[in-house]
Amino acid sequence: MTTLQSYLILSALLFSIGLAGALTRRNAILVLIGIELMLNAANLNFIAFWRYGPHPEALTGVMFALFSIGVAAAEAAVGLALIIAIYRHYKTANLDKVTTLKG
């Protein structure tokens, strides 16, 4: 049977992939994708801990995952709008080109 450990390791690896991607890629959209992957890894942890935890009838983990999905949707919308606004201004979505605060 699958233990809690396998879910936690999977989520740790997913988190690290997202982190490494967000740290290395130049394109702002890919950084956002990396952040989404990290959020998803956290969601997997919430669900796994809820399912294996001592009080699954309390539904806390499920609720946290649901709210985090909602927040992630809001974050993606605002983040992509910011990227598009930056692109309009600098004509690029490369993060190392966006270095000045005053355009």
């Binding site: 999977l10 997997l44 692109y87 490369n94």
Partner: protein, 168 residues
């Protein structure tokens, strides 16, 4: 059961890795969509039916679509021939590997994590809805407020700055 989990885990990790490594941005977005779907399937293996469906509805139906539209809108004209990653790319990957190593060692050394799967809890949609409307009603309202604010903010941000009378 276990082979199913292994297959899904492999699919998730492979598509997430591909999303972070591929050159073509649209391929990255489609790979991350695959990763979202396999995560939803993992939620289903954990008897979190509602979260799994919500994950597909929100991430595949909205976030992935937003990402591909943003990719098409920010087609980089000047970016050809440049490196796709920041120059000392080993630094970022190193930090990622370090985090992975420490997290995995922490997880494997904990006694708590060797737990077997308890019998499935009876988490019906009705229970979920009732607790959303009683215990979690304040967070629910705040999420609604947040989403409205995000909607307005996104519209304002993405609007052209010099918008006068009609749309250009």
């Amino acid at each position: 059961m276990h082979t199913g989990f292994l297959l899904l885990a492999l699919l998730t990790l492979a598509s997430a890795g591909a999303a972070m490594c591929l050159r073509n941005l649209v391929h990255c977005a489609l790979c991350v969509a695959i990763s979202f779907v396999s995560l939803a399937a993992l939620f289903l293996t954990l008897d979190a039916e509602f979260v799994g469906f919500a994950q597909i509805l929100v991430y595949v139906g909205a976030v992935a679509i937003l990402i591909v539209i943003a990719i098409l809108l920010t087609r980089d004209i000047s970016g050809h021939g440049q490196s796709l990653v920041f120059k000392p790319w080993t630094l970022g990957v190193g930090v990622g590997a370090l985090v992975a190593g420490s997290l995995v060692s922490a997880v494997t050394s904990s006694a708590f994590t060797h737990r077997e799967l308890p019998p499935a809890p009876a988490a019906t949609v009705r229970q979920l809805g009732e607790s959303l409307m009683t215990t979690y009603v304040v967070p629910l309202e705040i999420i609604g407020l947040l989403l409205t604010a995000a909607l307005l903010g996104a519209v304002l941000l993405a609007r052209r700055e010099n918008e006068g009378g009609g749309r250009s």
